[in-house]
């Protein structure tokens, strides 16, 4: 029986990579393959689903294929380099270190290490699976012998939670009829939330003096988060920029549903799952055309060529002031989500990984 075992630095609940790893494992098992998850660290809630990677050698069997979920630095990379089994990378991208320069040196060093690990692993692997063509191009540049683009598994179907009505009422009560711009993602220099603050400031001057910006996501770079907060206060936006974190899925759905437009000015994205969440919520999207954002979004949003506040404010105003356009974007978003339907992505993963496993058997 073919075995495809996954290795992931950390298996966390309510985490995109964690969800993807477990969903892929289930898909592989459903296809009749043996598939386990090996980790460097696991959360209490997911510990039963994983085995520590150091235990793999005693469980290794001939014919195993190893699949590494690569998105951060980890000793798992060094471990896999020493293994004889065919290695497949599932590359979710690593933020370039320069984004953290001057903001957080230890994070800069960590992502620099992760990038060095990608550079070493790419030529050693038999296949690189990438969430996007943008990520695939990085792998190819690093010497990966073959790549396939398969999106990350995101479940936004019927099982996704509905917006929490209490949360939605609470939000609506706070801002009344003001325009709400939303961004979801960690507070981090590459996500460029400060450009969102600039856009909000200009939007309030030009279009709606009561407009608000909702930022949802963890403060993973405290110095950047503090700078964004101080910047907003300096511009007189202390009450207009609202941050939230640790939301339940239903609460997050309420924040999406509450927003008039989802605005992403991130300067580096390997895929950008929040774009899909916004499409699912029926929130029209305005996004900077950077990294993989354009290919993830397709025609389901307005792609702006620059994060300059004038352009962003005008684009947001166009979406909020033109119901026909907003409706068209939302409809396009729902159609676009079909391309990322879990059943379709699962089939694609099984096909791609089957090719690796069968190819190896054939060669043997």
């Amino acid at each position: 029986m073919t075995a495809v075992h996954q290795f992931v630095p950390a298996l966390l609940p309510r985490d995109a990579t964690g969800h993807h790893t477990l969903a892929l494992r289930d898909a592989l098992r459903a296809a009749g393959w043996t598939s386990d998850v090996y980790v460097e660290a696991a959360h209490d809630e997911t510990a039963a689903e994983a085995t520590y990677f150091e235990e793999y050698p005693s469980r290794a069997r001939p014919g195993d294929v190893l699949l590494y979920q690569l998105g951060t630095a980890s000793p798992v990379a060094e471990f896999l380099l020493g293994r004889p089994e065919p290695l497949v990378l599932d590359y979710h991208n690593v933020t370039p270190a320069e984004f953290y320069a001057g903001w957080e040196e230890h994070t800069r060093e960590k992502v620099a290490l992760a990038r060095r690990q990608v550079a070493v692993l790419a030529p050693r692997s038999v296949l690189g699976i990438a969430d996007s063509a943008f990520n695939a191009a990085e792998l190819t540049d690093l010497g990966c012998p073959a790549t396939a683009v398969v999106p990350i598994l995101v479940d936004l179907g019927d099982t996704a939670p509905a917006p929490d009505p209490k949360e939605r009422d609470r939000l609506a009560g706070r801002h009344g009829g003001a325009t709400v711009l939303l961004f979801v993602g960690r507070l981090s220099p590459n996500k460029a939330q400060h450009h969102l603050v600039e856009a909000l400031w200009l939007y309030r001057r030009w279009y709606d003096p009561d407009a608000r910006l909702h930022l949802v996501g963890p403060e993973v770079t405290p110095s950047y988060a503090a700078a964004v907060t101080a910047f907003a206060a300096e511009l007189g936006l202390a009450d207009a920029v609202v941050s939230a974190r640790d939301l339940t899925p239903a609460q997050l759905a309420a924040w999406y549903a509450d927003a008039d437009v989802f605005v992403c000015l991130s300067q580096h994205e390997g895929f950008c799952i929040p774009l899909l969440e916004a499409m699912h919520a029926g929130t029209p999207v305005v996004a900077l055309d950077a990294g993989a954002v354009g290919e993830t979004l397709g025609a389901a949003g307005l792609l702006v060529p620059s994060a300059r506040p004038a352009t962003v404010a005008a684009a947001v105003a166009r979406v909020t002031g033109d119901p026909a356009l907003a409706s068209r974007l939302v409809d396009a978003g729902h159609r676009r989500l079909d391309d990322f339907a879990p059943a379709r992505v699962r089939r694609r993963f099984v096909d791609v990984l089957g090719g690796v496993a069968l190819g190896r058997r054939g060669a043997a």
Binding site: A178, A227, P305, R308
Partner: protein
Amino acid sequence: MPTPPAATPPETAADGSAAPPQGAADGVDYLDQVMAEIDAEVRRRRASGDLPAGLERELDELFLEFSPVGLQGRARLRETLALVDGAAYVDIAVPVASEKPIGTYVKRLLRTGLGWYLRYIVDQVVKFAWAVSRMLHVVVDHVEELEAAVESTRSPDLPVEVARTGEPATDWWRPVAIEALAGVAGRVVHGDCGDGSLVAALVAAGVDAYGVDPSEPALAAALDDGLDVRAEPVLDHLEVVADEALGGLVLSGSVQWLRPNERQRLVDLAASRLTPGGVLVLHSATPASWAAGAPTLVRDLAPGRPLHAGTWAFLLAGRGFSVAAPLTGGPDRTLARVGASTPDADTVNAAIDAINELLLGPGAYLLVATRER
């Protein structure tokens, strides 16, 4: 939800909303049209004074004031060092407060019981941390001494108005630039555009052109003419433009005397921001002309010097440009040869030829380079 009064584009349907074209595949053409209208809205705002030329740059600079990135030199070093000092002390007195009375008791018991063990470990950690901190203080002191020494040799920045001595887009190179840029796919930006005369000529030729210039007063005429111009240095502007977003780039003016590291950054940015097939037009004084004719303040204080055309061609070719042979023009200060009747005419004319060749001749050149696909 308030409807933005100024957001409705000129091309609208009867109900006030934009009319999507029928049958556009995936709406891509429609979205392109919407983006063009958004761009027009921004231009209209710029032209009407709603968006002062330097406003966006000022917002960026304001943000940097709140960031450690924005702190420069000594302030940044000392602030970071203070963080190290603050983190170098490890407190062994673990808090014992708890919401439950028994919790406080258990925590205190653990702290007392493990105190001897933790103290032994922590003492060593703190010693190491302080040793590192002391070493960093020594390093910072040395760095500051070094900075002071370097600073003492630095020339003050040129006032941007003084620095604006590049030859404007005069008759000899304007038509060449327009011909080179006509028909490029994408927007064209003129760095150091000054009064915007070249931008206006490009727009009149059907090119989607705009300009940037670090001097806000220099842009006054362009703004009065309703041109799309912004008050920022071309390097800063290119930093925030997306990759492959430009169809053309015109470099002139102070680009001639950038510092070496800035010059390299400019070449790198030009290569990444231009779309494949995009055109770069570079106008510069010749080194000899600049040395002889630029204002003394510029010659004395400019951080760099104009390059020869061949040197620019070398730098651009190294970043994937194919560079056409340079054109020369501009002020020609060549000395006229003397007549044959002049005593020792041959000797004098030979000297004049040598002087013309080495020092004088056309005062400027124009390079047209294309980013290879």
